[in-house]
Chain length 444, copies 2
């Protein structure tokens, strides 16, 4: 795929009249993208590029595949070389970051160097910058004017929420059609700019394609079991790309089909999805990408029911997951984090004698916590969780990972005993997933 | 930095007697690394390479800088091209992933192609694989033997926790010293293998260097304010690399100095750290990388004190953060998630009349929640949080982002009113950071 470039002069970027315009005379036939995230902080152990996840989602929706992602520091040589390589191997190249006013912001200069283009300071952008600073009553320092430097032939992409505009270049490079886009690094600026300026521009330049996708999610099923049952089905659909992803307690099946007509793509992916749904049945909690918290939210609201939780080893994580959904106050009343035994008694009505007899981590205590919190909060359902999240506190009888999850409702109380593998974080994640899955199953 | 390669035959990798050996006759003078993460799933919107964060931390500790990270799909051409480019521009190249038994696992083949090396099936590895499968009572399928393919001149790095071993190649490529390492993708396998096999091998090959690092963390200070005060100091230490990172409510200053002697590196970084500490004073909560949850944990245990929390808009996040620390049951009693007004009264003693008079989001209710939960849990300190996390529920008087955080202790109750910017997740993160910072300051 990497081709040795033939000797040549500056590339012929045919965007002479391209600025502030979105229409073009050509359509890309290939639609492979490369994302280059710029910034030395992204090469430390502390920070990670996340813009590319958002961009990938948006590009995939347009039918564009991301084939390479690169992370490059604030390093002119590295950036120039990366830009050159990307222009050789990818149809669409998106740079994120390095457009700010500081000396470290080198994306504009490096791309100009790689493509043999000049930078010109744009008077309209200078005026905008001056205006913006004047309005905030701040004297503009000269380094800010760097943000008004525009590549010859580039269209300026106005930044609705920041000072650095994006830039868009479309043209021939070494005989091939290429689109190169510069976007700012701060995620909210990047997203606003990409939505407003890039989606329609890209759509105008790529072949009309129809992509249909489905996502099936399952809780508390081992990945191997999902795959053993789903693979014989999806393997017969070679025109649908199927990916399995596994998290703590959650399996996702992503299906994606690209066809010349929308109806055809939808029909194929729907057919496969239905077959897998028939096979996996009610283990599937979501088919549109919703989280289990969202599904539980829908179901509780649909049934006009409420929920309360009493958590020991999960320490508030279950309540946190439930309330991560906006509007959760409509069905989530609250609950108690009963870390100490005294609070298990005080907030969740667990008799002291029961803790003495069975231990705080026991089937009996979990059930009583669920019933107690349901009664105290006057909710339709109550959840109780008690277990050993580790890393310490485990014994031979009650090892790290042992968790009891109970659900109490009008129809009685059920308790599930599980032995989860992993570290404290993973055990807590599993335990809350188990609780949400029990609520979901009770509400179906 | 990218150089056009001169025409040449297969590269002279001088590792003839290198297998199972860690000693080498040369030492790298340059120490720039490139990490290539392999796997098509890492080019979807759903998954991200995280191995590189771990590897970067370990490489930095050895004095090795990561200058490029690339993510490449299960694509032989793309992998081969990436390997060739990396061999030209980087001293140490680490591949992660693509070493499994499936057709999609192409790292070995692609690297062989890029370096002009052959793959040989290793009889000892075949025996190990057969043994491993036999012990589990599973018939070995032929595709598994791919994992026994070893690059000529490579040392085999035994995988203590999985089937695919790593591989290590050191030698000249196009006249330059290069180290290329293949590591498995699953994080626990990668970490175990890197620790056991790579750290000492790398240390033996790179110049003796001494790196001293410090990390200062501050809560609830704007990044601009930290930088305005710290920059005039750190800018005078050009031999110390200083990086500022900002999260929701938390600023980190990372300092790093590399010298020929350990004493010199430590002295320089310590001197700078002390000056910044003098400037920022008790705004700094940690200087060894500890999280604020950990610091609060130390302080509560040191003072033999306990904590309980009553949360409304943060919905359990504060309790979850506190209990993310193993052993937190020694000082955290628990608390209540009082999402509904009825529960504010029932679990945190907030009079109904007070909610009617001031509203659930008010200074008065926050203070009473803190006092109420402290009393109910018989804890040294009680925290109360109430606010509008959004996205809905805001009014002109009480907009989204308005949060009251209260801390009640023996010496009385304090309430802080804040207006946080951002989405629901960010507002909740800020609010809990504010609470932890108030606990920390009370305990100093």
């Amino acid at each position: 795929m990497e081709r040795r470039a033939s000797p040549r002069g500056p590339p012929a970027l045919d965007g002479r009249d391209a600025r502030h315009s979105t229409t073009r005379s050509f359509t890309l036939l290939l639609v492979n993208a490369e994302i280059i995230a710029v910034g030395s902080e992204l090469l430390t152990p502390h920070r990670q590029d996340t813009n590319s996840l958002y961009l990938t989602e948006k590009l995939n929706e347009l039918g564009i595949e991301v084939r390479f992602k690169c992370i490059v520091g604030d390093d002119a040589q590295g950036l120039t070389a990366s830009a050159k390589l990307a222009m050789r191997r990818s149809d669409i190249i998106i740079f994120t970051g390095g457009l700010g006013p500081t000396e470290d912001d080198l994306t504009r200069e490096s791309v100009a160097e790689a493509l043999g283009l000049k930078l010109q300071r744009d008077p309209a952008l200078i005026a905008q910058l001056e205006d913006r600073f004047a309005k905030r009553g701040i004297k503009i320092s000269p380094n800010n004017f760097k943000q008004a430097d525009v590549l010859t032939s580039a269209a300026i992409l106005p930044n609705p929420v920041g000072t650095a505009p994006g830039q868009w270049i479309a043209g021939k490079y070494d005989g091939r059609d290429r689109i190169l886009v510069l976007l700012p690094g701060p995620p909210h600026e990047l997203k606003a700019l990409f939505e407003a300026e890039c989606v329609s521009r890209l759509r105008a330049r790529i072949p009309v394609q129809h992509i249909a996708t489905r996502t099936l999610k399952m809780a508390m099923m081992p990945e191997s079991q999902v795959d053993a049952r789903a693979a014989p089905i999806y393997k017969t659909y070679s025109d649908v790309e199927t990916t399995i992803l596994a998290g703590a307690g959650e399996i996702q099946l992503h299906m994606r089909c690209r066809k010349d007509s929308k109806a055809e793509a939808e029909a194929r992916v729907e057919e496969l999805t239905e077959k897998i749904e028939d096979e996996l049945g009610d283990a599937i909690f979501s088919r549109k990408g919703e989280s289990i918290e969202q599904i539980v939210s829908y179901l509780l609201q649909m049934r006009n029911m409420t929920l309360a939780v009493a958590e020991s080893c999960t320490g508030g994580l279950l309540a946190e997951r439930i309330t991560s959904i906006g509007g959760s106050s409509r069905y989530f009343l609250g609950g108690a984090v009963v870390y100490s035994n005294a609070l298990k008694t005080q907030f969740a009505n667990v008799p002291k004698s029961m803790i003495n007899q069975h231990g705080a981590v026991s089937r009996e205590v979990a059930a009583t916590m669920a019933e107690g919190i349901r009664k105290r909060c006057v909710s339709s359902y109550g959840v109780g969780i008690t277990g050993v999240a580790g890393p310490s506190g485990g014994t031979d009888q009650k090892p790290v990972g042992l968790v009891y999850v109970a659900l109490a409702g009008e129809e009685g109380t059920q308790v599930v005993e599980r032995n989860f593998l992993g570290d404290r974080k993973r055990i807590r994640q599993f335990a809350t997933e188990q609780a949400l899955e029990m609520v979901r199953r009770a509400l179906r």
